[in-house]
Amino acid sequence: MASDLGPTVIAGSDVSVVGDLARLVPPARTVVTVVPEQPAAPATAVLVSATAGGWDAAAAEVERAWGIPRTLIIAPAPVARSGLADLAGPDWSSALDRNLGTAAAACRAFAPGLAKRPLASIVLVTWRNASGPGTVHLAAVAGAVRLFALALAADLGDSGITVNAVTVAEDDLAAAGPAVDLLSSPDAGYLTAEVLTPRSAPGERR
């Protein structure tokens, strides 16, 4: 059931966050989630196997069943608070893998298809920096994903794919909705290599 605009694909390593982002997409659009485990509502979900070619196979499955996507949204995964003593420990590897690693794998798998569509876009949603102790992993993940987005925009500029990052507070994922809506709009075709910082409550200081 491919729409004229192609499906909106939401990919991530955390099923819950992917599901929350999917609910923010306007209902008129076809949304396909790409996740590593069975979600609660699997009707339009594609599972990523833990094999070397897992993401490539998932992208191929999406294109076969729903058509070439026009928008790829990368969902963030929660990052545990960890102190400096845990830096480079298992939490560090997990946080980077579930955020940056997933972003890289999904973008690599879907970019060739996106390049075949006019006005294709990649939106990397990540966390806004938080203050206080225990946020070194969060800062590293958020910074890495933001800069990955900017570099990817340069790599994909010639192919016509726009790439942008959206940062949201950990307790305000809903703020990503308007930004994703904007960045997947045809009116945002000249908007690339930027970081948007929307918020749900206007007037609040960041």
Binding site: P26, A153, A154, G157, D158, G160, T162, A175, G177, P178, A179, D181, L182, S185, P186, D187, A188, G189, Y190, L191, T192, A193, E194, L196, T197, P198, R199, S200, P202, G203, R205
Partner: protein, 254 residues
């Protein structure tokens, strides 16, 4: 989704370029548009284009840097269409020279038009927006207001000032249902490129190519693209971006 049907919009500097494109786009989205320009003939021409395309528009010429003019053209807008609900601060001028050679009067003129003008217009429309608890103010800044540009110190300063103004005002009025956003375009294909070309000592065609080469998408923006984004922000989720400056550069080269 269209939140602009029947809304009254005022676009400053709409006699040509981005402003004219914004006026056309707003009207296409259902807004009733007041077209401001310093030049009455240009304001009339844009208003006629809007009307010819089936929209509703009136020409309200005047100088945004002149408080009496601002009061006058906003009164004209209210009489013809109703209170302003969407204000697009677009009017701006650009001239280029090395900073030490900039004539003081020219420096002041740029600041007055580009920075003081939007403040005057905003102050004039805010009371009605606050009392109706609905308003959208979108200001056209510039990427040069973020990164600065050689030969454009006063222009860069004026646009940087708009970005700070946007942030501060957004916090003040968000509780009244008024959302304030800026966009910072990169290089746009408008008549203002002639000033850049003259400063660089090259043709307009050459300057366009140079700027295009500096983007990730290998082209400069069209006025219609920038207008489309502004109208999207006015019509949809401006609240999420209130206080923000959205840079639209095709991938900036810094």
């Amino acid at each position: 989704m269209n939140g602009l049907d029947g809304r009254v919009a005022l676009v400053t500097g709409a006699g040509q370029g981005i402003g004219a494109a914004i006026a056309r786009r707003l009207a296409a989205a259902g807004a009733l548009v007041a077209v401001n320009s310093l030049h009455a003939d240009k304001a009339r021409r844009t208003a006629e284009q809007v009307t010819a395309a089936g929209g509703k528009a009136v020409a309200v010429p005047g100088d945004v840097a002149n408080p009496a003019d601002v009061e006058s053209f906003i009164t004209e807008t209210e009489s013809a269409l109703g209170p302003v609900e969407v204000l697009v601060n677009n009017a701006a001028i650009l001239s280029m020279a090395p900073f030490v050679e900039f004539d003081r009067n020219e420096f002041d003129r740029i600041i007055n038009v580009n920075l003081t003008g939007p403040m005057l217009c905003t102050r004039a429309v805010l009371p009605a927006m606050r009392s109706s608890r609905w308003g959208r103010i979108i200001t056209v800044a510039s990427i040069w207001g973020i990164i600065g540009a050689r030969g454009a110190a006063p222009y860069s300063a004026s646009k940087g000032g708009l970005i700070g103004f946007t942030r501060a005002l957004a916090d003040e009025v968000a509780g009244d249902g008024v959302f304030v956003t800026a966009i910072a375009p990169g290089v746009v294909d408008t008549p203002q490129l002639a000033a850049d070309a003259a400063f660089a000592g090259v043709s307009v065609t050459e300057i366009k190519q140079r700027y295009a080469d500096d983007t990730l998408v290998n082209r400069i923006a069209t006025a219609d693209e920038i207008a489309g984004l502004i109208v999207w922000l006015a019509a949809n989720h401006t609240g999420a971006f209130s206080g923000e400056t959205v840079a639209v550069t095709g991938g900036r080269s810094e």
